[in-house]
């Protein structure tokens, strides 16, 4: 069969789960969940971190096998033993992590994921068909470069394009916009929305962003702790009532008010003339001068891929610098374990599961990374006490509300948001003089976001110097005392929060200066 053409003739399908239950060992991640997604609707699935949203959709896709429950497609019961079966029924999913093959080009990724790939691929013909298909998409994508060289936003678009290319009629999007800029997010969701309006597609989107839900979705379902807690039409509920269904009547953390800046507070972090190369070795980042004082939050804004990641990695000791000087409290800083302990520096990179954790070690062990070889007084010990490690982990897990089946489960079995909390628990406890943190709220539910921002503000008020690298401008405006803008590997703009304007910052971010 030839490539699937641009004409989407199939009709959107209705999907329904009945009594879905999923247990991992003794832990019940999903408890008797019934959800109805009508044909051609844009349905939002809401819930706190660890509520079981990903688990539910993975059960529908045949990735997990539910302990109990049934799946109806167009009101007929179907069995999905694996993702192939799901595809057979027109169900497709964009996962929370990317599932494109990094070393294959976009075109290769698209073609090979088709159900009936010919034994020998006629690339000339496929390319023509792909070009024709892409004209029906509202954006352009480079299909001839390996996917690993694409930016996060482009990868996400390609993931969605792939599902449409495969002619899926029911599409699950698991936090599709967490890696996209607001404009990109708008563009992508807008496209999907149009297709649902035309009756070509049904969408189930997992999201933590209420503004997306209200702007694009027409119905929603809420889960809490694995249970169904409500559903309805978007027009009939406001964000507050959806939030109440998500978290019950727990209070949401409020931001501590900002204490005034202390005049001539000591400089904690000083970076001068820093140079480093990026992952490909082709581009260079050059940071002339950055200082962070005790008791202030300095935010670094920028569109992803402009060197923030590399800068963070250099500060965290994960990337070699070519030149330059980094000092913490006046002492040269190379991010060795001894230096971080002596100077009380803590570091939270983005994607902490990959960059700051040992995914297969247990929750307790991961939480102990900073302190396992120290006693209560901060002196080195030669015998590690597993009991003390567990007790401390239990305390922090409770304090930071990390939801895990047990302290002994591998960290990678936690939901995305709970991994983030576990890392925060590790990095924000104890005495911290300098905190370097990148995109701390990626993938977190709204109450967790509020809580983490409150913790950062509290740390600042307590005298910690915080360097906050974030792609979320709202977050920076809410928390920072000063904002720096990074573009093309350089700091191109600096402004105190009092005079910061979204307009100007946006222009510098886009490189218009």
């Amino acid at each position: 069969m030839s490539a699937i053409g641009p004409s989407a003739t199939g009709k959107a399908i209705a999907v329904e789960t009945i009594g879905m239950t999923m247990r991992f060992g003794t832990f019940t991640a999903l408890d008797d969940v019934s959800m109805k997604v009508s044909a051609g609707s844009f349905h939002a699935l809401l819930g706190e971190n660890g509520a079981g949203k990903s688990t539910l959709v993975k059960c529908m896709m045949g990735f997990n096998h539910p302990t109990e429950g049934a799946l109806l497609v167009n009101n007929r019961e179907v069995t999905v033993a694996d993702p192939n079966d799901a595809a057979e029924h027109g169900l497709g999913m964009v996962y929370q992590h990317f599932t494109l093959v990094p070393s294959l080009t976009g075109a290769e990724n698209l073609v090979i994921s088709r159900r009936n790939v010919p034994r020998v691929i006629d690339w000339a013909r496929e390319r023509k068909a792909l070009a024709a298909f892409m004209t029906t998409m509202p954006f352009d994508l480079p299909l001839d470069v390996p996917v690993r060289d694409l930016a996060a936003g482009e990868k996400q678009k390609l993931e969605i394009v792939k599902q449409l290319y495969l002619d899926r009629r029911f599409l699950v999007l698991d936090e599709p916009t967490s890696v996209l800029t607001p404009t990109e997010a708008h563009e992508v969701l807008g496209l999907v929305r149009q297709m649902t309006l035309a009756g070509d597609l049904t969408v189930l989107m997992i999201s933590h962003k209420f503004h997306e839900v209200t702007a694009f979705a027409d119905a929603f379902t809420v889960l809490r702790k694995g249970r169904f807690t409500g559903s309805g039409k978007v027009g009939e509920h406001d964000a507050r009532s959806m939030a109440a269904m998500m978290i019950g009547d727990q209070p949401v953390a409020t931001l501590a008010s900002r204490t005034p800046l202390v005049a001539d507070a000591p400089t904690v972090l000083a970076v001068r003339g820093l140079e480093a190369s990026d992952r490909t070795g082709l581009k260079t980042i050059a940071i002339d001068h950055v200082e962070v004082h005790a008791g202030e939050i300095v935010g670094i804004a920028g569109i992803s891929g402009n060197g923030q990641k590399e800068f963070t990695e250099v500060l965290g000791g994960q990337r070699a610098r070519r030149a330059g000087d980094i000092r913490v409290k006046g002492k040269p800083y190379g991010a060795t374990r001894r230096e971080t302990q002596e100077l009380a520096v803590r570091f939270i990179p983005e994607e902490p599961l990959r960059n700051a954790c040992a995914p297969r070690m247990t929750v307790a062990e991961n939480i102990a990374f900073r302190t396992f070889d120290l006693d209560a007084g901060g002196r080195r010990i030669s015998w590690i006490s597993v009991a003390a490690m567990k007790a401390r982990a239990a305390e922090l897990v409770a304090q930071f509300k990390v939801k895990a089946a047990s302290l002994a489960s591998p960290l990678q079995s936690l939901s995305g948001g709970n991994v983030q909390r576990a890392v925060l628990a590790r990095e924000l406890s104890g005495e911290v003089d300098l905190l370097i943190v990148a995109n701390p709220c990626f993938g977190l539910d709204f109450s967790a976001v509020a809580e983490i921002r409150a913790r950062l503000m509290t740390a600042r008020n307590g005298g910690t110097a915080v360097l906050l690298i974030s792609e979320d401008l709202d977050e920076l405006l809410e928390l920072s005392d000063r904002i720096l803008v990074m573009s093309d590997g350089r700091i191109v703009h600096e402004t105190p929060i009092a005079t910061a304007s979204v307009q100007t910052i946006g222009e510098y971010m886009a490189g218009h200066h």
Binding site: L100, S103, V111, R119, I121
Partner: protein, 308 residues
């Protein structure tokens, strides 16, 4: 000047001849390993497969008097070794490198055990094609005496290069090698694909062994392999998992290996033995020059244990 005495010209000619003659086992083993590694697994046991293949090919040829049957028998044995490796690696918490080392020792040991009776008898050789008829210099004629397996190997390299990008099987192999998650999301079973890829790799490595006993050096004894199976694994990295790169690297290796004997043949009496180490020095130098602490190994399949 006498046609037989070509002085220093003998060195490059001997290197070219050596490259062609010595490279074939490297070529087959590295192509086999490329297939296996592209699927995300390393089979270090190919040295054992090569030696066992060498023994099998020789033994079967001694009995049947047909070298091609010998090659087929070696391929069958290599396939079994590959399947065995792939099957064990399917189990959780099994490390492919450790299994490979065990299989390397097993293969060599079994080959020595079963090969004892075949050290004495002699077997017919695989055919070669003389491409040097246009020259009347005997060294050129000798150098251009090209074995059929070399040509098959060259064609195979070209074929694999093409197949990795234009056939379904090739793309599936790369998908599995680069991301198990993506493969599973596509409904592919990574273990099965890797099992078959390891089997194919074993079959090719065994052909390399057959070449050793059936053509050059052309007899079976326990010293028949000088680590070609192991060097070929390094060669794959050197070739960046590209079949055409494997072909070039195998030639380069063969040529470097011929340097010592060539110098010796033109009458250099001192120090030539140092050049016997040329292939190994060459590997080290290339590896050091092309590696970088800040960058990931370009082109490495993402699921390889060494690339993770």
């Amino acid at each position: 000047m006498d046609a037989g005495d070509i002085g220093w010209w003998g060195v490059p000619i001997a290197i070219v001849g050596g490259a062609i003659r010595v490279s074939t086992p490297f070529l087959f083993v590295s192509l086999g390993e490329t297939i296996t590694e592209r699927s995300g697994r390393i089979n270090l046991g190919l040295e054992g497969t090569l030696v066992f293949g060498a023994m099998t090919a020789y033994a079967v040829t001694v009995v049947t008097l047909s070298p091609w049957l010998g090659v087929l028998a070696a391929m069958a044995a290599g396939t079994l070794f590959g399947l065995f490796h792939g099957w064990i690696c399917k189990f959780p918490r099994v490390n492919d490198i450790a299994i490979g080392i065990a299989l390397m020792l097993l293969g060599t040991g079994l080959a020595f055990f079963f090969g004892k009776p075949f050290i004495q008898p002699s077997a017919p050789d695989l055919p070669a094609i003389s491409l040097g008829w246009w020259s009347d210099i005997p060294q050129v004629r000798a150098a251009l005496q090209i074995n059929v397996l070399f040509l098959i190997g060259a064609a195979l390299a070209l074929f694999l290069w093409w197949a990795f990008r234009t056939t379904r099987i090739g793309l599936v192999l790369r998908v599995v090698g680069d991301s198990s998650d993506a493969a599973r999301a596509m409904g592919l079973n990574p273990d099965t694909v890797r099992l078959l890829a390891t089997a194919a790799g074993g079959a090719l490595a065994a052909i390399g062994g057959a070449y050793l006993t059936l053509y050059y050096p052309g007899s079976w004894n326990e010293g028949v392999s000088s680590g070609q199976g192991l060097m070929a694994v390094a060669l794959v990295i050197f070739a960046r998992w590209n079949p055409l790169g494997c072909f070039a690297a195998a030639l380069l290796f063969g040529g470097a290996g011929a340097l010592g004997p060539a110098l010796q043949s033109v009458g250099v009496t001192q120090g030539y033995y140092l050049f016997y180490a040329a292939p190994y020095v060459l590997t080290l130098v290339v590896m050091i020059l092309t590696s970088s602490p800040g960058r990931a190994l370009a082109g490495a399949p993402g699921e390889l244990t060494v690339a993770k």
